[in-house]
């Protein structure tokens, strides 16, 4: 053994160096580390599970949008516009009953930019709109099935920005999607006609300013929409031309009747 070896061994012979204490402390740290790691893993697993539980109903809703749950055939608009018209008519008759019994029906197919399409171009249609009721009758109904704009995080944002306390609007989450119920008062623009020849209307921001005489030129509308998580919207509108008063009683259909059409699974898009 060399001199240097002997000196190093003497130098290393420090009684203060306690390997047992070091091992004990290291093992305690290791146990603590494993406990923390276990907790983190459990929390991560719980977070993933929670995320799955939150996302699952939405995913199921989206998948269910793509198939009928009523047993009725769901028409594919692009290949069967007659089928979607029939589905809309049946749904309206089922929920609105006598109000639309024998009423004339008009179906309009719409393209990506909401342009009207002839039946010959049905394959290009991305939405459909049906009108029920004679054009000169006071009450008419419209049913729209097609794409919705993006679903905002806050359902309340589906209400029109111009809505005032006089024009109520509510939006609520349901199992099928967000149901939006809104009302509009429109007034005929006396000197303006639409390109098709019909009268033009504009939304009245504050109907309290209207006089009873103005009501003859007024159109009252109630919209009930279901915006599904899949981005498909079904809207049912009742239009009352020249309502005797701007009140709920002016509508022939109840909100429940309109909602029944809006949430009808047979009107799901496919």
């Amino acid at each position: 053994m060399t001199d240097l070896q002997q000196r190093l061994r003497r130098l290393a012979d420090q009684p203060e160096l306690d390997a047992h204490a070091v091992l004990r402390a290291a093992r305690q740290r290791d146990r603590r580390r494993r406990r923390v790691r276990h907790r983190v893993l459990v929390m991560a697993a719980a977070s993933v599970l929670a995320a799955v539980l939150v996302a699952l109903p939405q995913a199921v809703a989206i998948l269910e949008d793509r198939r009928s749950t009523t047993g009725e055939p769901v028409a594919t608009l692009s290949t069967d516009p007659g089928g979607i018209a029939e589905a809309m008519r049946r749904s309206a008759e089922r929920s609105l009953g006598v109000l639309v019994e024998g009423a004339p029906i008009r179906l309009q197919l719409l393209g990506d930019n909401s342009e009207k399409l002839p039946a010959a171009r049905a394959a290009e249609a991305s939405a459909a709109r049906m009108e029920l009721g004679a054009r000169d009758s006071r009450h008419r109904w419209r049913i729209y099935v097609g794409p919705a704009s993006d679903l905002p995080d806050d359902p309340a944002r589906l209400c029109p920005q111009r809505t005032t306390t006089v024009l109520p609007c509510s939006a609520r989450d349901t199992a099928d999607g967000v149901v939006v119920v809104s009302q509009y008062v429109l007034r005929r623009l006396p000197d303006l006609q639409l390109p098709g020849g019909g009268p033009a209307y504009s939304v009245v921001d504050d109907p309290r300013l209207l006089t009873p005489e103005d009501l003859a030129d007024v159109r009252l509308e109630k919209h009930v929409s279901l915006v599904r998580p899949s981005g498909v919207k079904t809207t049912v509108v009742e239009t009352v031309d020249g309502p005797p008063r701007l009140e709920e009683t002016s509508f022939a259909a109840t909100e429940q009747q309109l909602t029944a059409v809006a949430i009808d699974p047979a009107l799901r898009w496919r």
Binding site: D3, R7, L8, L11, D13, Q14, A19, V22, R27
Partner: protein, 161 residues
Amino acid sequence: MPDLDEWLAHGTDRLLRFAYLQCGSTELAQDVVQDVVVDLLRHRARLEREVEVIDAYSRRAVVNRLRSVWRHRAVQQAHPVPPPAVVRHDDAVVEDLDLQRRLARLPARQRAAVVLRYYEDYSHRDIAVVLGCTESSARSLLTRALQSLRATAPETHGAPR
């Protein structure tokens, strides 16, 4: 071949003294070896498949951790190197203190090479494994370390070449 627990039971004390010879502080040596043991326990599954590397792995970890501590001034200040505890009162004490002072003046890798060679009895090849260099570099480190030690020594050590 011993498993990790067996290695720790017998090897921790040796590792602790190996660390102490390089830093001259019992507190720092214990802190560093504790970190290394926690690291060994964390990699238990891998190390138990390769128990033959634990010696070299743990020593390399001690050398690297000490270098990291010395680089980190804040930590260095938290572990000021104290004078060695004097428990013996003979001429050897004076010699040992002198050796420790001269070891402390060596660069970290040279100091590690000296301790590995003359305390751990490692071959040049094993020193190269621990320090992550070639065998010739390990020889060179050791040669320069011994030259420095001799140059500052009051008398020659008679260390083997």
